[in-house]
Symmetry: C2
Subunit: 224 residues, 2 copies
Amino acid sequence: MRDALVAAAFQLFLERGFEQTTVDDIVALAGVGRRSFFRYFPSKEDVVFPDHERCLADMAAFLDSGADSDDPVVRVCDAARLVLRMYAENPAFSVQRYRLTKQVPALRTYELSVVRRYERGLAAYLRGRYADLPDGTVRADVIAAAVVAAHNNALRSWLRGDGSDDPVALTDRTLGLVLETWGGSPAGNGPTEDVVVVITRRSTPMWRVVKDVESAFRYGNGRQ
Amino acid sequence: MRDALVAAAFQLFLERGFEQTTVDDIVALAGVGRRSFFRYFPSKEDVVFPDHERCLADMAAFLDSGADSDDPVVRVCDAARLVLRMYAENPAFSVQRYRLTKQVPALRTYELSVVRRYERGLAAYLRGRYADLPDGTVRADVIAAAVVAAHNNALRSWLRGDGSDDPVALTDRTLGLVLETWGGSPAGNGPTEDVVVVITRRSTPMWRVVKDVESAFRYGNGRQ
DNA sequence: CGGCGGGAGGGTACTGAGTGTCCTGTGGCA
DNA sequence: TGCCACAGGACACTCAGTACCCTCCCGCCG
């Protein structure tokens, strides 16, 4: 039933556009009643993103499970990869949906609100992990936003292509940049033995070197 | 006329809620025709954010103007401060609107789409500045997202309060964290004095340390 | 001075999304 | 066989947003 509605909706959306298709058209093609459509999908936009609710739940479950011993940023990046996996499961469907969404403002707005829910999920997790860090909530929000941006950058460049690229490799690359910057748990379970390498110009004043070393210790400086 | 509609709308939104107020109610109170409402505001949501269009234009103008010699991240942070200034101009109005938006899903979604436009503006600017950098678009997207997240974190914590805090100080603090991480133009007019700090575990193999140092040289690693 | 064109605003009717309510068929159970 | 729960359908309604046409006002020109 759900699947029949999704199939009918996409057929019509692709052949005559989202705005040119009414819910009545969809239910007529699917051979069901109009009211049933809204029983399965709260709005016309929802039918375009039928699997995000499940993926959101999966991500929440993933973040809830697992020990708090590992790097929070790594964990959050792995959570983002769950979303990528969902897209990569049906490349043809994902590319079609991407092209549709790109053209329809209502769908772009809807997608935005979905992305926001993922981001808030990641931020909530990080806020918990950074609870006892100064400026922990800012750090959490910023990292969550950065992870989502990096993930979406890779996802979109994959969707823009013909689907022949490897989305996982693309995402690894962009998330790698975020990990390079923010990875290396500043929240603790800290490294037990540190080696500090400082490279500086001879002309740099010593106070600046000290400040940078302190800052690197405080925040991990993106490298472990 | 515009102002009269905004005033009437807010009066009704505050006393009976956004969804419980119809456009007919607003135009009846303002004493104008229904059609005129939609001449000034494309949708019912727009009346809640009457000054964002102007602010978006201001930000675009700000980013277009000015030399390309300074740090792009600093410039983007300054652009974000324009938005804060708009909120800070009418604290009472901003706080009322925040409380309204927090409760109404449709307004949250709308606000999201506005924030997205700011973010895309910042990202487009950074993409231009980082055009000849490897992974420049990712870096641009990530920094834009980080700046917006930091800005919104400060803005929201100010709006949640009673308006007595200093919003500029709050924003300086959160944007400062972003600047600390990403500031220091990697795009060139390069820094004249480098300090590279690498912290690693004693067990880390040397090849990895070398790789990290090389990478830090290439990207500036967020610190000057 | 009178006609006139254009733009701002008002009125009416329409489309289409989303909701509430009631009805009907169907399948399980005592 | 009677009963109940529930999935789905039919219908009516609200309200946002749009198209079309009307009116009034204001400056302009013959």
